[in-house]
């Protein structure tokens, strides 16, 4: 049985809550079990709406989107492949079994630049369709160097294609309060939920967190043997802590890759790591829009201090660190 599961990811909003660091895979509940949402067959065939959008013709849209797909395809440790199927009169959001990309007017979504909706087989978790729309209420550009006052289609497409792949929001980045919302002061993941701003093209490339995520979802042969993972529990006062961010930093490469403690026991796992020593940084989701990252299934504890784990943790080649316990202190 196929069920449409509309997942509206409020991506690239300039006013969203403060994000945190992690790559996150989408999961879908099947018979009480959470299965990873992903494509089962390649290439993933996509179509581009033939109307284009404000300031962007259909061909320019297809070219920009094609470059963003190419960036994901170029990850050497990921096996996912895409194929441009051509132009279509269908609109993104139509449940027609076709992955469609185009512009839609959604002025009521005043903070949403673009969005991805997924159609999932609720028996297998297999992705069947993923439509991406760019909000034509905003000014857009496909200029090679970006265009002042206009959002870059390729940059935003790169983020949305991450969702199309099955990745949730990452948040290796920092924001600050700005007026009634927040603005980005730094980010280090294409899957960070907030855009830098119009004219900026810095996030046309993937970062280690994005690469680890897509490689974990669609590993090439040998990747799992060549990479490692770190897993464990975050605890406070001896009990598990739900929702904490755990970020693994590799001092040899400078890579930041993370995940959340996603169970009431505070369990976390970070896969796709370069084998070797890592240090762990733990931080609370103290002012984030938690729903933009994951479904809240337990009370979220944000009353703890940002801290480092006092042990260097090794991600072994082809294996897991073994369950480690990371203790945090109340504020």
């Amino acid at each position: 049985m196929r069920v449409a599961w509309a997942a509206l990811f409020l991506t690239m909003s300039l006013l969203m809550a403060r994000p945190v660091s992690a790559y996150l895979k989408f999961g879908s509940s099947v018979n009480g079990q959470v299965v990873t949402v992903k494509w089962s067959g390649f290439p993933v065939r996509y179509f581009v709406n033939d109307r284009g959008g404000p300031g962007v013709g259909a061909n320019a849209l297809a070219d920009a989107v094609g470059r963003a797909f190419g960036t994901w395809e170029a990850v050497p440790s990921a096996a996912i492949r895409y194929q441009f199927g051509g132009f279509t009169a269908a609109m993104p959001g139509d449940d027609d079994g076709r992955t469609t990309i185009g512009f839609l007017a959604a002025p009521e979504l005043e903070r949403v630049l673009a969005s991805t909706s997924l159609l999932i087989d609720d028996v297998t978790g297999e992705l069947l369709e993923a439509d991406i729309f760019f909000n034509s209420a905003f000014p857009w550009s496909t200029s090679a160097g970006g265009e002042s006052g206009r959002f870059d289609v390729e940059t935003i497409a790169l983020h949305e294609i991450g969702h199309l792949n099955g990745l949730g929001h990452s948040a290796i980045g920092e924001t600050e309060v700005s007026g009634s919302g927040r603005s980005v002061i730094a980010a280090e993941a294409a899957m960070f939920p907030l855009a830098f701003g119009p004219g900026n093209v810095l996030h046309r490339s993937l970062r280690p967190d994005d690469i680890a995520g897509v490689s974990d979802l669609y590993p090439v042969a040998g990747f799992e043997d060549a990479s490692g993972s770190i897993s464990g529990r975050v605890t406070k006062n001896g009990t598990g802590l739900f929702g904490a961010h755990v970020v693994a930093f590799n001092p040899a490469t400078g890579a930041l890759i993370g995940n959340f403690a996603l169970t009431p026991d505070g369990d976390f796992s970070i896969a796709g790591l370069t084998p070797g020593p890592h240090v762990l940084r733990i931080e609370p989701l103290d002012d984030a829009d938690v729903d933009s990252f994951f479904e809240v299934t337990a009370p979220l504890d944000v009353d703890f201090r940002v801290s480092f784990h006092d042990k260097v943790v090794v991600a072994p080649r082809g294996g897991d660190s073994g369950s480690i316990v990371v203790r945090v202190q109340p504020k």
Partner: protein
């Protein structure tokens, strides 16, 4: 040679010989060796801390510059280990040696300057190292340190294998070293069969690659060992 330099040289000779007297007792013999061809030795080795470098955990700011989340400064701490070696003399001055060693040290990563005020700490991990190396040793037989010491220079290369804590990851790398020291001949033919007994003091510049880091890192190393020549 100036008078002060001569005084310094004499003081240094006394220090070396004094150290030898503490380590081994018994009669000392002249530094001149006999016809012994092989040497077996064992002792201790100290390797100084190896700075692995400082890396910032950076994010990208909207202008394309770096936003530092925190700083990580890594050091492979000093190592105290044991070693054993087998040598063969191929000429009056040249020896070839094979050495194996074991030791352990701590990888220390100092984490500081956090953008969200996380307390600075030093995260640690225990690392065990095994080495197998070969070296060429040239005894400077024209020179003497006191009556019983023969200085030497040495250079070598080898393989290093490091086991991370809980033995869940192995690093394999290479090492190179160059340095010198002194062989102090302490006793000749102690049991009627062995030719010479002595101790070796040495210092070297050690370069390693592949342990924790892919870069080449240098550290000082010092050794003291007892040997028998036969």
């Amino acid at each position: 040679m100036s008078a002060s330099l001569r005084r310094f040289a004499r003081r240094w000779q006394r220090t070396v010989i004094g150290t030898a007297a503490v380590l081994l007792t018994g009669a000392t013999v002249d530094a001149q060796t006999g016809g012994e061809r092989f040497e077996v030795g064992a002792g201790m080795r100290f390797v100084g801390p190896e700075p692995l470098g400082r890396v910032d955990a950076n994010e990208t700011n909207p202008g394309g510059g770096a936003f530092r989340l925190f700083t990580a400064e890594s050091t492979l701490d000093s190592l105290l280990g044991v070693e054993a070696r087998l040598g063969v003399r191929v000429s009056s001055a040249l020896h070839l040696e094979a050495t194996g060693s074991y030791g352990s040290s701590d990888l220390k990563v100092k984490l500081s300057a956090d953008a969200e005020n996380a307390a600075a700490i030093t995260a640690t991990e225990r690392i065990s190292q095994y080495t197998v190396e070969g070296a060429a040793v040239i005894e400077l037989t024209r020179w003497h340190v006191g009556a019983h010491g023969t200085p030497f220079i040495a250079a070598g290369a080898g393989y290093v294998r490091a086991l991370h804590e809980d033995r869940i990851l192995v690093d394999e790398g290479a090492l190179w070293h160059a340095g010198g020291g002194v062989n102090l001949m302490l006793r000749a033919n102690p049991d009627g069969r062995l030719g010479m007994v002595g101790i070796r003091l040495d210092a070297r510049a050690l370069f390693q690659r592949g342990v924790v880091s892919d870069g080449v890192h240098a550290s000082p190393a010092f050794g003291v060992s007892a040997f028998v020549r036969f």
